[in-house]
């Protein structure tokens, strides 16, 4: 009797750990499945070039979604990220065009700093309206979404804002198109951002507080956690992530307009949820998030590379693939 009990206890320890890990691993299983599908669809798909392309271009959503992981884990939501991209990018390009600083590299450095600060401030605004104003984050950020987008339209007077100086463009280009040791820069940026985010979320006091706040606000409050501070800071982190995405976006397209980043918020949230973070808060999976962003981009890529699907049905097939990918995840984590 006592022998079997002991054995049971040991097995239980192992099992508990395993079922938790499984859920974290599930998005990667869906990813693997997609890679197989892709390889069947088009032989070019599995080439290193194509996969690098896809990873590179997933950078914007991935980085934004890393920020969204914080906001969502803490039980909030940010719908304004798409228009925040447009807004921050517009201001950054306008600043670069202004030529406020003569030396181009100094100018660029200043612009980078400026973008980061503006991103952080936009996030701060979202955070304060939500927490101090006590407005549902859905509505608060829907409001700022309109504001940031409206300001962008106004800045661009309905047109586009384009980086003018070819010199700066040349200098800045490698930030998106360059590579270090054969790895494209955006991929390195994704990895760096995610690693830092994972560290903050899993290894710092603040990260622990984020999860506590998202999981039960009252418990967090009674544990002496400054709930509003934690939530606001999550919005600021989101803003900084948006700024980082902008830093990659500007060298890629060199121009923005009032339509830049439309619906990116939906994609970012989707990436977060596919990655295993619950929309109700209390769970945050940063690595899952970038896996989710990659999955989203991959689905689009497979559609584009497959030549037998009617143009008109692509949306439908994409939708179906997302559902199937989620079902695969579920069936993996469902216990017997």
């Amino acid at each position: 009797m006592s022998r079997s009990e002991e054995g049971g206890a040991v097995a239980a320890v192992r099992k508990g750990r395993r079922s938790i890990d499984l859920r974290a691993v599930a998005p990667f299983a869906a990813l693997a499945l997609l890679l197989v599908v892709g390889a069947l669809v088009n032989p070019n798909f599995i080439g290193i070039n194509n996969l690098a392309n896809v990873a590179t271009r997933s950078a914007f959503i991935a980085i934004i979604a890393v920020g969204a992981t914080f906001v969502i884990s803490s039980g909030d939501l940010d719908l304004s990220v798409g228009s925040m991209v447009a807004f921050v990018a517009s201001l950054m390009i306008l600043f670069l065009n202004s030529g406020a600083i003569a030396d181009p590299s100094l100018l660029l450095a200043a612009a980078v700093t400026l973008a980061t600060v503006i991103g952080a401030l936009c996030g701060l605004a979202n955070g304060l309206i939500t927490t101090v104003g006590r407005i549902e984050p859905f509505i608060a950020t829907l409001g700022t979404m309109g504001i940031y987008r409206g300001l962008t339209t106004w800045l661009s007077q309905g047109g586009a804002i384009t980086l003018r100086s070819p010199e700066i463009q040349e200098m800045y280009r490698p930030a998106y198109f360059g590579s270090i040791l054969g790895v494209p820069v955006p991929i390195l940026v994704i990895l760096a951002v995610t690693a830092i985010a994972a560290f903050i979320l899993y290894r710092t006091r603040y990260g622990r507080h984020v999860v506590a706040v998202g999981s039960n606000r009252e418990v967090a409050r009674y544990s002496g956690i400054g709930v509003d501070r934690v939530r606001t800071l999550a919005f600021v982190i989101q803003g900084i992530c948006v700024a980082i995405a902008v830093l990659l976006y500007v060298p890629r397209l060199g121009s923005t307009s009032a339509t830049t980043g439309i619906l990116w918020e939906l994609q970012a949230i989707t990436a977060v949820v596919i990655g295993g973070t619950a929309l109700k808060g209390g769970v945050g999976r940063v690595w899952g998030t970038i896996c989710g962003a990659f999955i989203l981009e991959l689905v689009g890529n497979i559609m584009l590379l497959s030549n037998f699907i009617s143009e008109y049905l692509i949306g439908a097939i994409q939708g179906a693939i997302i559902i199937i990918a989620m079902l695969v995840q579920r069936s993996l984590t469902r216990r017997p």
């Binding site: 914007f60 384009t162 890629r252 397209l253 009032a258 590379l305 143009e311």
Partner: protein
């Protein structure tokens, strides 16, 4: 004949006109493949500049000899187009020109004339109703819309035509309906509506009809959808004219491009299509009842 591949990258069908583009691109793709047995034409649609840049990369991955692109928004796509061009691919840009639009970016430019679309409408209004009070419904806040507005202002220059208001209708019928309803509330007298797009005209006409207002003399739309051309043909008083801005131009570009890569004719430079004014006189030349647009 040699095996060649043409990649066609166009905006997703987000309103009637782009739907026409998709239709014609697919139609011409089939024709071309029949005509040139070794030719493969791949048509891809994208909703926004960022994903169109992705689509270009993906087309390149598949290996293309020529690219025909109708950019969702040209300036943000210049870099991506250059990437393709620098690999020696023949590039045709359709309709929407980037601010730098020379041989470094593309080989061929088939121009839809956005400023002209606005100008022709403006000139018509200035000529027929020189003292008209006009309300304008704009599309989306992107450069081609701005070009049309500028063209329109140029067209009415020197006349007494007065613009009462401009608001965005997003090239969407439902939004245009709302904007028109509010215009009707706001202005007791409106002579002419310029809504630059046939899709939006559908909403505008319904709003006018609902309000039973008789002060509005006519509506000028644009693009050349079969429904609006039919109205012009039938002598509808509200739609006396339409400004042609044919989605079929993408087909023209594709045909020229195929000719170029099979070396039948030297095609380079700029081909500009007119923004023709469709009147009851010439309407039947532009009426394609089978098109979805």
């Amino acid at each position: 004949q040699d095996a060649k591949t043409i990649g066609v990258s166009i905006p997703a069908a987000d309103h009637g006109w782009t739907a026409g583009v998709v239709y014609h691109a697919n139609r011409v793709a089939e024709l071309l493949m029949k005509e040139h047995p070794g030719l493969n034409v791949i048509v891809k649609t994208s909703p926004d500049p960022a994903s169109q840049a992705n689509a270009l990369q993906d087309l390149e991955t598949q290996g293309i000899d020529a690219l025909v692109i109708l950019p969702t928004d040209p300036d943000p796509l210049v870099n991506a187009i250059k990437e393709v061009k620098n690999k020696g691919t023949f590039v045709s840009i359709v309709d929407r020109a980037p601010s730098v639009n020379d041989a470094t970016v593309r080989d061929l430019y088939v121009a839809g004339n956005n400023p002209a679309l606005g100008r022709v409408a403006g000139e018509y209004i200035a000529k027929n109703t020189p003292d008209a009070e006009v309300v304008v419904i704009r599309g989306l806040p992107i450069p081609i819309d701005q070009q049309r507005q500028d063209g329109f202002d140029e067209g009415i220059k020197g006349s007494n035509v007065k613009i009462l208001d401009r608001q965005f209708g997003n090239w969407n019928r439902d939004d245009a309906f709302k904007v028109m309803q509010d215009y009707l509330t706001k202005y007791p007298k409106i002579d002419v509506v310029w809504c630059q797009d046939d899709d939006m005209a559908v909403g505008v006409l319904q709003a006018i009809e609902q309000a039973k207002r008789t002060d509005i003399q006519y509506v000028v739309a644009g693009a050349g959808s079969k429904d609006m051309i039919k109205k012009v043909m039938d002598g509808d008083k509200m739609i006396p004219v339409d400004v042609l801005y044919p989605p079929a131009m993408v087909g023209t570009a594709m045909e020229l491009t195929a000719a170029a890569i099979y070396d039948q004719v030297p095609v380079h430079g700029t081909y500009t299509l007119d923004a023709t004014l469709i009147t009851s006189g010439n309407a039947k030349n532009y009426y394609f009842p089978d098109s979805p647009f």
